[in-house]
Amino acid sequence: MSRALITRGPAGSAVDLPAVDMSTSIGDFETPMPVFTASGCAAAGKELDQFFDITHIGGIVTKSVMMSARSGRATPRMAETPSGMLNSIGLQGPGIDAFIDHDLAWLRQRGARTVVSIAGGSVEEYGKLAAKLRNVEGISAIEVNISCPNVEDRGQVFACDPNSAAQVIQAVKRNSDTKVPIIAKLSPDVTNIVTIAQAVERAGADAVAVINTTLGMVIDLETMRPALAGITGGLSGPAIRPMAVRCVWQIHQALPNLPILGMGGIRNGEDALQFILAGASAVSVGTVTFHDPSAPMRVQDELEVALALRGFTTLHEAIGYAHRGPDVPEVAEEQE
C-alpha cells in the first residue's frame, strides 16, 4: 500500500505514519478490512450507506432473520442506560425469502461484503434457514445467532447450553455451502463461555462472534413497572465493553486458532484495538452506530491509526498480542 496516514501527535502536531495492512480473515472469508457492523444495529446496510460507503468497511452483518415474517414485540422496546441501552425488539424481520429477494439482492448489487445472520426457534429452523441460503450469491459468511435474549422462551437460548449450541451449529453446517464460513454468536450470560466456544468449534463452527447483549432490566419510576414491554432486554453499548474484552481474551487463550469476531461497546479505534489485542481477528461496531451513524467507518480509520502509532504494519501481527509472554529486557546486545 502506498497510502500514508496523517494524524495528530501528542503535541497536536501532524504526524505521518505508514499505512497498515488491515486485511484479515474469518475462517475462509478473507476481507481487506476488519471492521463490520453488528447484527441488529445496521438493518441490511441501506440506511447506513447514506452516511458512509458500506463497501469500504469489512462488511455488513445483517439483522438476524428467521424463516417467517415477524412483527417483533410491543413497545416500549428500548431504555437508555448509563453508557448503553436495553433493547427488546424481538427479532422483527421480513422472513428469509423476502430478505433474500430484497435486502440481500440490494447488498449484492451494492457490492458490500455481507455476513447473513440467522436465528431460529428450533434446531430444525436453523437447518432450514441454512438450506435457504445455500447457493445464494453474495454471502461472505453466515452468523448463527444462538444467543438472542429476546425470544419468547428464554430458557431455550441455545448459546447457554453446550449441547444445544452444538446441535444448532451441526444443523447449519449440514445444510449450508461448505465454502461459506459459519460464525456462532455467543452469549456472555453463561458460567463459562469457553465451554460453549469449544462445543461450537467441535460442531464445525469456523469462527465465533463474541458477544451478544447481556440480559438486563430497568424499572420505570413513574409507572413503577418494568420500562420495557418485554420486561427484560439485551444490554449493549460501552457499559458492557470490559465484559466483552474478557470473553474474547478467555476464548482466544483456550482456542488460539479459532477466529473471533469481537464486539461489545466499541466506540472508537482504541476500543477496537483492545479486542484485536485480546485475540479478535475482526470487530463489529453496534450500538454506537445509533449515536454516530458513520461510526463503523470512523472506527476503522481510527483503528488503523491506533495500530500505526504502536508500530504495527499489519493488523495480523496485533491479533492476540496481549497474550504474549513477558517482555525481555533489551540488554542482550551488550554481550559479546
Binding site: 428500548m78 441501552m85 460501552p238
Partner: protein, 284 residues
C-alpha cells in the same frame, strides 16, 4: 436527498414559554428540509454516557446568510438529555443528523387546510403553513395545550393563518377544552379538505378520529421514542395499515413521522395487534 451528518454551532438560544429555541449553523440542511422533517442531536461529547440522540421537529430553516445556512429547533425538557441541549450556549458545537423522516405531503391544487398543534407540536407547522399559502391554500390553525405556558408560537403563527383558535385545558388562554372540542366546527366553517396535526399521541388519535368521521383526509406527525432516528434500530415502531390493507409494525423514523391519520391503528399503539404481519401466534 440523503440526510447530512454535521457539526453545528449554536448561534442563538432563547426562551419561549417553557421551551428553549436553539438556532444552529447547518450548511446544506435548509435546501433539503421539507415541512415535517426532523433532525436529531447527540448528547454530550465523545465520552458521553448518554448514547442515544434526541429527535426534534425542524421548526425553521434559513438557507443563506453569513453562516451558510441555519436551522431552528424547539426544545422541551423531559430528562437529562434534553436538559443538556437546553443548557447549550452561543458558540457551543452540536452533532446534528438530518433532515430525517418522511415529511408532510402538500396538496397539488389549492385546498382548505386545518393545522392542529398540541404543545410545541406547533413547531413543524410554521414552515408547513408558509408553503401551503404559497400554493394558494387556505390555512386555519388550532393550537392546544394543557395550560398557556405549554403553548408555542401562537402569536407568530397567526401571521400565516386565516384564523387561529387556541384551546387550553385549564382555560388560561383561548377556549377552555381540547383541540377536538373546536375542530368539528372549524371543519364545517372552513370546508376543510385536509387536516395536518402534530402533538402528543392522544391528541393525534382524537384528531384522526374526528377527521375520519367527517371524511376529511388527515396527516399526523407522531411522537414515538427513538434510538437511532435513521431506521436501523427498530425501536420506534407502531402498527400501521398499509395500502394493501395489511397491518405492519413500521418505523416512525423512516416510514413516518408523518402518517395518514386513517392508517395508524391509534388504539393499538404500544401493542402488536393479533392481525399484524408476523404477529406472535403462540409458536414464537
Amino acid at each position: 436527498m440523503a440526510p447530512l451528518q454535521l457539526t453545528g454551532q449554536v448561534l442563538d438560544v432563547r426562551r419561549a414559554g417553557m421551551y428553549t429555541v436553539l438556532s444552529l449553523t447547518a450548511p446544506g440542511l435548509a435546501e433539503r428540509t421539507k415541512p415535517g422533517h426532523f433532525l436529531n442531536i447527540g448528547i454530550g461529547g465523545e465520552e458521553s454516557g448518554l448514547l442515544l440522540r434526541r429527535a426534534f421537529a425542524i421548526y425553521q430553516v434559513q438557507s443563506r446568510g453569513v453562516y451558510g445556512g441555519s436551522v431552528d429547533i424547539v426544545v422541551g425538557v423531559h430528562g437529562k438529555g434534553t436538559q443538556w441541549i437546553a443548557d447549550r450556549r452561543r458558540h457551543d458545537n452540536l452533532s446534528i443528523v438530518g433532515p430525517l423522516g418522511k415529511p408532510f405531503t402538500l396538496p397539488k391544487d389549492p385546498a382548505n387546510c386545518i393545522l392542529v398543534g398540541g404543545g410545541y407540536g406547533t413547531a413543524p407547522l410554521f414552515m408547513l403553513a408558509d408553503q401551503l399559502r404559497e400554493r394558494g391554500c387556505r390555512v386555519d390553525v388550532i393550537a392546544g395545550a394543557a395550560t398557556e405556558e405549554k403553548l408555542f408560537g401562537t402569536l407568530e403563527i397567526k401571521r400565516a393563518a386565516s384564523t387561529l383558535t387556541v384551546t387550553t385545558e385549564d382555560g388560561s388562554m383561548g377556549v377552555q377544552g381540547r383541540v377536538t372540542d373546536v375542530l368539528d366546527d372549524i371543519i364545517t366553517k372552513t370546508k376543510a379538505d385536509v387536516i395536518y396535526a402534530c402533538g402528543p399521541m392522544g391528541m393525534l388519535a382524537a384528531v384522526a378520529n374526528v377527521a375520519a368521521a367527517r371524511g376529511v383526509y388527515s396527516q399526523c406527525s407522531v411522537e414515538e421514542s427513538m434510538a437511532c432516528g435513521i431506521g436501523v434500530c427498530m425501536t420506534c415502531v407502531l402498527p400501521v395499515i398499509g395500502d394493501d390493507g395489511v397491518t405492519r409494525m413500521v418505523r416512525s423514523c423512516v416510514e413516518g413521522p408523518v402518517f395518514r391519520g386513517d392508517q395508524v391503528r391509534w388504539s393499538d399503539v404500544g401493542t402488536v395487534p393479533a392481525d399484524t404481519l408476523g404477529a406472535p401466534t403462540g409458536g414464537h
